[in-house]
């Protein structure tokens, strides 16, 4: 016991970085918090996991009626329902993760004020249950792919990377917004608005090919644009990714770094302010 090293607590001087090695030591806590969220969500729910399908399928229905039947929006040469379902699936993964990560610190405020743990465990654990929802949504998607005979090409092996991209984007933006929400509870209302606008600014119901080619790189500054293009290429074999996808990837990386910075700067004061 006497060989154990000192752990110090002193005022922060200068910029702080997140301690990822410490987060790894707390991986079981992350797993238990994620597991708690999954269990709690489906306890005493008559339809259980089926609810994970409701949001993307309802969106699919509305989009098909409004954008496909009424407005006649193109869908990059694949059946529109398939096109919209892939969009909704990944949009739901991203926006659900973003909402959960933003709320994670306040939702776990009892933990934040009463025990020590690397604070980043809370937003991380809150994003992970979204993967369960994703797995559930992939089932009808797979059925639809088979029924319509739109079998994905070999690029389907990249699917995990696209999923990781969506999670990383939600996590990065969520880290920054969670930090804001610790101090300002109304960040929650701003987020609702942001997500709503972001949905229509992203090619969920329409293809990004509607944007004039010379402006597509600018459109891709919205990282969700590149994300959805990549997802559709991987699952439906639409246009292979080009410069816009790279732009979106770079923006995602930038947002992730920014989110981590903001979070690390605020982290030590969470317990005082929350």
């Amino acid at each position: 016991m006497s060989t154990a090293t000192w752990v110090e607590n002193r005022p922060t001087a200068g910029r702080r970085a997140l301690d990822w090695r410490e987060l790894w030591r707390y991986r079981e806590l992350v797993a238990f918090l994620a597991l708690r969220d999954v269990r709690v969500r489906y306890k005493q729910a008559a339809f259980g996991m089926l609810w994970a399908l409701v949001q993307p399928l309802a969106g699919l229905l509305v989009f098909t009626v409004v954008f496909d039947r009424l407005a006649g929006v193109p869908s990059d040469g694949v059946p529109y329902p398939l096109f919209a379902l892939v969009g909704m699936t990944f949009w739901t993964l991203f926006s659900g993760g973003l909402n959960a990560a933003t709320a994670s610190l306040v939702a776990n405020s009892a933990l934040v004020t009463k025990v020590y743990f690397p604070r980043v465990a809370a937003p991380l654990a809150s994003v992970l249950p979204r993967l369960v929802d994703l797995a559930v949504t992939l089932v009808p998607l797979a059925v639809l792919l088979v029924v319509t005979g739109t079998l994905p090409g070999p690029q389907v092996v990249l699917l995990p990377l696209v999923v990781l991209w969506a999670v990383a984007l939600a996590f990065g933006v969520g880290l920054a917004l969670a930090t804001v929400q610790v101090r300002f509870r109304d960040a929650h209302h701003a987020l609702t608005l942001l997500v709503q606008l972001w949905l229509y600014a992203s090619p969920v119901a329409y293809p990004s090919s509607l944007v004039p080619a010379e402006w597509r790189w600018a459109y891709a500054l919205n990282p969700v644009a590149g994300l959805l293009d990549a997802a559709r290429w991987v699952l439906l074999g639409t246009r292979p990714p080009g410069l816009p996808v790279l732009v979106s990837l770079a923006v995602t990386a930038g947002l992730l770094v920014l989110g981590v910075r903001v979070f690390a700067a605020g982290e030590r004061r969470f317990a005082d302010v929350i």
Binding site: S2, A4, W6, V7, N9, T12, L29, R36, N108, V115
Partner: protein, 415 residues
């Protein structure tokens, strides 16, 4: 001997407008802070800072047990939060050696929808116990809690007693080199508290370093070889527990008489003043044992709180609770008059039961579900008089005796 905890020049400042970290800091400065906060604009120009801790130096050798005493808001909980790294100090440094287990609350992270078993593992992870360790100790934890066959029932179906026992059982099985414990013994029935104290004694004997905050001075005296007295964020005394506790008691508890409290404008209810006097009048501070005593509380209720109740408890300086009288014990349970917003004066007349000596008077205001005001040792009760040469008893009921001549037939039955 090496130290397990070292603290040097530690200070923790809370700046107004940022929200305050702990309920206890709030208790101390609540009213004043709230009013300043509300003034809003003045906040930036005059940063009225609150130092919850100031110039604290401390060394705790490995295997020692340290008790921390002090009034509400003296900085006790803040010190534990800094030691456990929940919050960072404003100046100075604290160091701990080895794994730290902080039990600032029992059942942190418990979720009502999860079963007892699921909560044990979750709470274990929250307290830093590896899953394998929790699994290995599951039987012990279940035995300790006594919840038995309810292990796979969601904890929302538990009684509050079962819930607390399970939560404490997990906490009691935390295995850390340094244990930081905040008033967790204030839960459960007497039998359970005894087991918890026993468990903490075991931990102390097995070489763990224990830091223990409690208002139960008897427990502090029993468990801790040394004690630290915090007063308004500063160290008043460190040393042998018996000496520190004596000094603290002599000074910290006001004598009988009227005492006013800092009110917290954010709380739906505040205690404004407390008065302890002889029912028949007479000078404050000198109460005669054979006279009834009146405890009178002034409070303000800012919003309607259904089921609001007030209780006055009396305990010995060692923390043995002798009386706990609730307003709803004698008024009709449905709606006590204090549930109505406004100012109220509540008085309780205690018959002359207590022996001469010194007692602490506590005031609790709340509902079945939450505590809104808890003023431990709100007043000191000093009763003078004769113990009638039988000082070993706690109470003198002075029941009425009757002696009559027994009947002739009974007498005749004797040989």
């Amino acid at each position: 001997m090496t130290n397990a905890i070292e603290v040097e020049g530690l200070g923790k400042r809370y700046r107004l407008g940022e929200g305050l970290a702990s309920g206890t800091v709030r208790d101390a400065v609540g009213g004043a802070v709230g009013r300043l906060l509300r003034r809003g604009r003045a906040e930036r120009e005059s940063p009225a800072d609150v130092w919850a801790l100031r110039d604290v130096d401390l060394q705790v050798p490995q295997g020692a047990s340290l008790g921390i005493v002090g009034r509400n808001g003296a900085g006790k909980s803040t010190l534990l939060k800094v030691l456990s790294r929940i919050t960072e100090p404003t100046v100075g440094v604290s160091r701990t050696r080895g794994a730290v287990g902080s039990l600032l609350e029992v059942g942190t992270g418990f979720h009502p929808e999860l079963t007892g078993r699921e909560n044990v593992f979750l709470n274990g992870a929250v307290l830093g116990m590896p899953r394998s360790v929790v699994a290995a100790r599951l039987d012990d934890i279940v035995d300790f809690s006594g919840i038995g066959r309810f292990l796979d029932t969601p904890v929302k179906r538990y009684s509050s007693g079962m819930y607390l026992r399970l939560a404490f059982a997990v906490a009691a099985h935390v295995d850390a080199d340094v244990l930081l414990v905040d008033e967790v013994l204030a839960v459960g029935d007497a039998e359970f508290q005894r087991r918890c104290l026993g468990r903490m004694e075991d931990l102390g004997r097995s070489g763990r370093t224990v830091v223990f905050i409690s208002h139960n001075l008897d427990a502090v005296t029993r468990l801790c070889s040394t004690a630290l007295w915090l007063d308004a964020g500063r160290v008043r005394a460190v040393g042998r527990t018996a000496d520190v506790v004596d000094d603290y008691l002599r000074e910290a508890t006001p004598d009988a008489g009227r005492r006013t409290f800092v009110e917290d404008p954010d709380s739906p209810v505040s205690l404004l003043a407390l008065d302890v006097r002889e029912a028949a009048g007479g000078s404050a501070g000198r109460l005669r044992r054979e006279e009834p005593v009146v405890v009178e509380a002034d409070l303000v209720v800012r919003e309607r709180v259904p089921g609001l109740d007030l209780a006055v408890s009396v305990e010995t300086l060692n923390g043995v609770r002798l009386l706990d009288e609730a307003l709803t014990d004698t008024t009709s349970g449905a709606a006590t008059p204090i549930t109505v917003p406004g100012r109220h004066r509540v008085s309780l007349t205690l018959p002359p039961l207590l022996m001469p000596g010194e007692y602490l008077v506590n005031v609790w205001i709340g509902t079945t579900y939450e505590t809104l005001v808890w003023e431990h040792s709100a007043a000191r009760l000093r009763l003078e008089g004769s113990s009638q040469a039988r000082p070993d008893r706690l109470l003198a009921a002075q029941g009425s005796w009757a002696v009559t001549a027994s009947s002739a037939s009974a007498a005749g039955a004797l040989p």
